[in-house]
Symmetry: D2
Subunit: 357 residues, 4 copies
């Protein structure tokens, strides 16, 4: 690629390359699985919400032998059962642990450090495949320290880019596994990427250049703010949202503090309210997009996403809007109560903007 300026327009008379791969999200899942595993391989997967459910569905359709560990929606991955399974698996039939770092449907963050500890404790060689779609670049994520073998995310989440880019990061161990993995794959085959990478032309098919430039810019913004500051900002916004929910007298779908997500909060509504009505009103009257409750929690929760290129005052406008909507649908909220609770916390915790001090 040519980043350096030449005067006038470039005269583009190439016939154009034919193909462009944009594996992303679902595609990134498939890329992670088919490059490291063979049909029939046993995976341990945690079902804790709609997105982990969809990934499990994919694993089954790709003919893996999926050992599903289910939790009540609102709870995190059941790592006690993982411990048991690892302890019992002397012959190492488990080839991979598949886990969603942050389950977007319920606002649950799983503890990856513990997963690693268990694998180490039982000296188990299973690969650790992590969906970091709604966590990476927003929550603390440590590929090396936690021994993650494949981490994946998409452009449209914490990176705040348009949709279209899936990012898959593989450990040396995962790359080694790809040499013997027998799953059929062409579009997602890492070998094609590695081959062209070595050739110095980098891409087996035309990449989405505009998104690559976008990724460069997105990372520059993150580095300019400082990744630690980005994570701290998400921590503040998660905390502020939970304080507002509490002030409204509502419950968090996430059942324990250890699983609270700082990128999304799923709010439980009383039985006499349909949470879909809240989302609909937000859209139709207040020009606000909230997340629906999905599948098992449909009608029961609405979700407030608070990730990406977002700041505190934007969140407070959202919380004020939610208060009006709650009143609209008949919930006896005290107007201003959630905003006040969030403000009381934020007012003491928002740092000065370094470049403006």
């Amino acid at each position: 690629m040519d980043y350096v300026y030449g005067p006038g327009k470039n005269h583009l008379f190439v016939p154009g390359p034919v193909n462009i791969p944009e594996p992303s999200g679902t595609g990134a899942w498939e890329s992670a699985l088919t490059n490291t595993l063979s049909p029939g391989d046993r995976t341990v997967s945690f079902l804790i919400g709609q997105f982990s459910l969809l990934w499990i569905d994919q694993q089954q359709r790709l003919n893996f032998n999926v050992d599903v560990v289910e939790s009540e929606w609102g709870q995190g991955a059941n790592l006690d059962i993982l411990a048991e399974k690892l302890a019992a698996d002397h012959s190492h039939t488990i080839k991979a642990i598949c886990i969603v770092h942050n389950e977007t449907a319920t606002g649950v963050t799983n503890n990856l450090a513990t997963v690693r500890k268990l694998l180490d404790h039982y000296r188990h060689p299973a690969l650790l495949l992590v969906d970091g779609v709604s966590s990476i670049c927003a929550l603390d994520f440590r590929m090396d320290e936690w021994g993650v073998d494949v981490a994946l995310t998409g452009s449209q989440k914490a990176l705040s880019l348009p949709t279209g880019l899936g990012i898959v990061c593989a450990s040396p161990k995962a790359l080694e596994a790809s040499k013997s993995a027998k799953s059929v794959r062409v579009f997602f085959d890492w070998n094609d990427y590695l081959k062209f990478y070595k050739l110095g032309t980098f891409w087996p098919y035309t990449p989405s250049i505009q998104l690559l430039y976008g990724l460069r810019a997105a990372l520059d913004l993150i580095f300019e703010e400082g990744l630690d500051n980005v994570i701290a900002r998400h921590t503040r916004m998660g905390k502020a949202t939970r304080l507002a929910v509490e002030a409204w007298g509502l419950k968090n779908c996430t059942q324990k503090e250890e699983w609270y997500s700082d990128t999304v909060t799923a709010v439980l509504v009383p039985p006499y309210i349909d949470s879909a009505e809240i989302v609909k009103r937000a859209w139709k009257r207040y020009n606000m997009s909230l997340g629906l409750g999905l599948n098992k929690v449909a009608g029961k929760v609405f979700r407030i996403g608070h990730l990406g290129n977002l700041n505190e005052l934007q969140l407070l406008g959202c919380l004020a809007g939610v208060e009006m909507i709650l009143k609209d649908v008949g919930y006896p909220v005290k107007l201003g109560s959630g905003v006040a609770a969030a403000c009381a916390y934020l007012q003491n915790n928002i740092p000065m903007i370094p470049s403006r001090i």
Copy 2:
């Protein structure tokens, strides 16, 4: 999607959907094949250049039984051999004909109408799968009249959009075939799309909304110009380019007029010149991007793409540049000769711009 204006910013507090499929080019090939065929199925595929070669490679890696019909590079698909194969295939072992409408590596356009005639003549039920990547919206393409079962293209060619979108169009017969096709597929599975289409939410994963808006705009531009006018414009530019090549005393890689492509021209250089040197000089000195010769024709041809949002004066600037480069590399071209030949034709054939008459 909401096209209608609401004042102020939309308050986006969704957790964001997780996944985005952007099958495109290579992905679109895989989508067409895995949704309509089962492992072991026999396909007849024509090898006439680098892109048909890559598609054949994919078919083999996906475990189809590929019956390769090879032509010399510079020739079109050998339809006589297709006729023989169809005539001999009484038991209908051929499940699909896979053909690239316009082979971008050699500037060869295949005759799809004849393919359909042969299938009809032999009453053969094989599916007709067409790569229209460098033809659709630039060359005459008739899905219904030619009985094409799957047609595919990408956003980054005649539609003149950024890369990232693969467009796959299936006939009712192809949809029917997808019900029994046993190839493993998840990311590319049409069923997921059809399911959400019926639900009215349209997408199984988050689509690349910016490219869908772009597609809407690109189609508006094409309809505003008129699809017939778009095709006529490509016809003019193909013809003008070939007249220039002839005036330079060089040969077209495409061996017969019936196969001439109006979207790309591959120009043969004399043996004492390395065509890669031409492409390199174009880039390094004239800020012009030409296409390299690929694989069997590497070093032997350079390619002039003339498709998409392009007009005659842009092409003439390119041709003038090629003349200088030919001189740079030692070919005894008469400066102005190709431009003059192209101009003599264009001057009598460019129509007035309707909106400006």
Copy 3:
């Protein structure tokens, strides 16, 4: 201009026009004055804040005989004195009434209908020149009904465009006056515009085409929302802001309800607080831009602008931010109080978005 699509790039080989006039704001003032008046002409001008002050300064520097009617800052134009002056001016020495519709420094909206009534009552032929910079397209403004002779605004206010465009609208009476006005003017001379308008080429110098396209788009958005709805939205936001100010226990700089502005609210702070500190903190800590107090009210007021492409939840985020800042600087605000007051009003008054019902 050519709005219709031609394929490829336009080949721009004009030498380029030399000059581009972008009279705007200050320039629009000068345009209004120099085209309708002669040096020494008597104008009646109302000094009620910083922007009316600047306009008066311009009138004096342009050598008009300015009869200044001053009010305390926070009050509207003193129309009783205008009545007296008109009553006494039997010989019609007053050539123009210069009035700012909405004084942005103090959040005061003047009553133009009354100005017109007085002029009619006294059958006075003075021109009515109106600065509508922070009112037109946000507040109710009636050029014809109120007999405004010159109305002016800029692109960067309620039109929500980038800066750069001044818009000046003249009545037939103003155009007639321009024929005998003796003020020296070239760049701003209406005659040059009228001459080219009649020729059908419209502009005496190259206009800022990008802003003209932007203006077309901005007006489309306003018409799509409906001008009445736009005005109603500003009314809601003005009212909501004032309710919040009241709930905070603070005073509006504007002394009477009849002058309340729905596009900007100037908030008085207690004497022990420097309002500039509030604006500084908003910027440095909360990434929010508030307006400073200017000149006579420097340090005493901060200003909340609520005009243009803005909606209620954005405003509530701002109000929540102001509450935190007030607390930061030592004012004993009850967090959530202003937001609650605003929400209580808004929750009953925000209409459904028509396109989403």
Copy 4:
């Protein structure tokens, strides 16, 4: 201004500044004149084409005593007469020399170095006011070496920005003159700018921030290419254009080589052709914008602009188009002749692009 990134959206709740001055071209002329001269002051101005004519018209309307030195259109400023006037002006009645560096209507570049030499030779204190609209950043221009007192240009020429910005550069001597200049001015008054510059807030009214960012980017591009390379590129394109004109058998409107402009070429057509017809056809059939002949040379010349962000192949496409148009209108041009002449020169003179070597 704040160039540093803060996460999320800035919360813009300022009332908005009221005024934006964008003096440009005509406005920049007025700025240069009214800030340095008083009504009745004698200026020496050279009338050599439409744009110098318009400036002279402005000078007269602003009540200066304009001593017009007229040349035949196609010739440069008559500096012999300037010498005579300076020699005779013992009492220094001449307050300013007003000269257009590059007259865009005729493609004539005046020799500013000689103007300076004459002023120095006669030890004459007149100010040197230069319109550099179609020269600065494209032709060699030396503010200090040539002792230019006011230089002006616009954003929409060699800077390749959108219209809207006038740039006026004043020498210390010009600033000194502004202290005693008695021309009435408000919008253009340098004092307001200097006052706010000293205050550190820089602008008396809201500037067009988007164009200031654009200017920063435009200058970065120029510095990246290197100003010398930019000028050399314009020299090549001017020369190439003139060689084509000669090959077509047509005459340059510019009568002597010393006045040839490297930013615009005015081409004389034979008497039996209306040059406006050429411009019209270029637009209606070839989607190309050429410049009309203006005023005295209307119908007699068409103009090819070759300045700004433009390269050689774009120019060659233009020249090929002109050849077709000349044939369209009945001029017996040999197709390819002009392109060939330009190519023969360019092929030996275009340097490698440094970043791509």
